[in-house]
Amino acid sequence: MEHHAPTHDFLGLTFNLSNVLMITIASAIVFILAVVATRSLAMRPTGLQNFIEWVMDFVKGLIGSTMDWKTGGRFLFLGMTLLMYIFVSNMLGLPFAISFNEELWWKSPTADPTITLTLATMVVVLTHYYGVKMKGPKEYGKGFISPLKFLFPFKLIEEFSNTLTLGLRLYGNIYAGEILLGLLAGLGASGFGGALGAFLPMLAWQGFSIFVGTIQAFIFTMLTMVYMAHKVADDH
């Protein structure tokens, strides 16, 4: 079970085609889910509308717990999209993995550090952007030397470590889950005894992975809002 990434060079850039595929699938699922849920909106919510409104209230709660709504309201859509995209991405790798010609095609897109770090960098860059935009360059700059001047290097390091931890936490959790699932699947496929031995751990690990995937989506969104609040809130 030696897997390679199906890479392809295009316009001088290297594309991991499995990532491209899975990103597209995850995005499509999130989009279809959201559109189906909000297709027939009513004052009295029914079915999926209840679910999507619950998601919105949940993200509202996340934002509300880190900054006041007047500042944080604009991040609602970002938070909802992040939460649902990462959740769906985490779940995608759970039921099966497909490899073709020794190349791994079906997996969680979030089981790749490139993807998670891209998302993390995007979030951190957005925090800086909104920091400058909402507080002005001067106040934004002051954030690096307050409350004490000599904290500046640490604050600088913090920005990079935030990015790294945000991305790698997600990647690590999901990738580890998929590795173990892969190993258990390999064991299960090795013979009757293996299948018997792998069945229960597989069941447990699938359940645990669902839990981890949900928690990680929540943590990623939560931390996004925390970092955002650090940059845009006047006093926290």
Binding site: H4, T14, T38, M43, T81, Y85
Partner: protein
């Protein structure tokens, strides 16, 4: 197996761009087709509920005001009725009093008239009695005198008497 997934090894710059673009497109599409309308309906509901609460509050206040008004009206009517009743009673009392007074006056008048009548009757009776007594006494006196008078004197006396009676008639 792992070398392609460790940072730096098998680094795919295209993935970064693809992920970024995909996420931004997803965000934009969801904003337009899902989150926007959802937010709209939730706001609308919030507004609706707020309106309903306001309306209910207003209705309650109105009902309360109406109730107070009715209560005052009731009180007023009751007082009016009471006053009316009292008035009527007073009037009846007065009327009764008046009737009693009138009856008393009437009876007094009748009594007085009767008394006057009695008095008059008695006076006339007394007068006639006196007259009769007088004539009787004259008659007795003449009878007594008659025996002692002579024919001539008797005749004269009778004539005198008759004259007197004729005068009196």
């Amino acid at each position: 197996m792992f070398n392609s997934l460790i940072l730096g090894a098998g680094f795919a710059a295209g993935d970064i761009i693809y992920q970024l673009v995909a996420f931004i497109i997803l965000l934009a599409l969801l904003k337009k087709f899902a989150w926007g309308p959802l937010m709209g309906i939730m706001k609308e509901r919030e507004q609706h509920i707020a309106n309903e609460i306001d309306a209910a509050e207003k209705n309650r206040k109105e009902a309360e005001a109406f109730l107070n008004e009715q209560r005052d009206e009731m009180k007023r009517v009751r007082q009016e009725a009471k006053a009316m009743l009292e008035n009527q009673k007073q009037m009846a009392d007065q009327k009764g009093q008046e009737m009693i007074e009138a009856a008393r006056l009437e009876s007094e008048r009748l009594k007085e008239a009767a008394t006057a009548e009695i008095k008059r009757e008695r006076e006339s009776a007394v007068a006639s009695l006196r007259e009769q007594v007088a004539s009787l006494s004259v008659m007795i006196a003449s009878k007594v005198v008659e025996k002692e008078l002579d024919e001539r004197a008797q005749k004269q006396l009778i004539d005198e008497y008759l004259d007197q009676a004729g005068d009196q008639k």
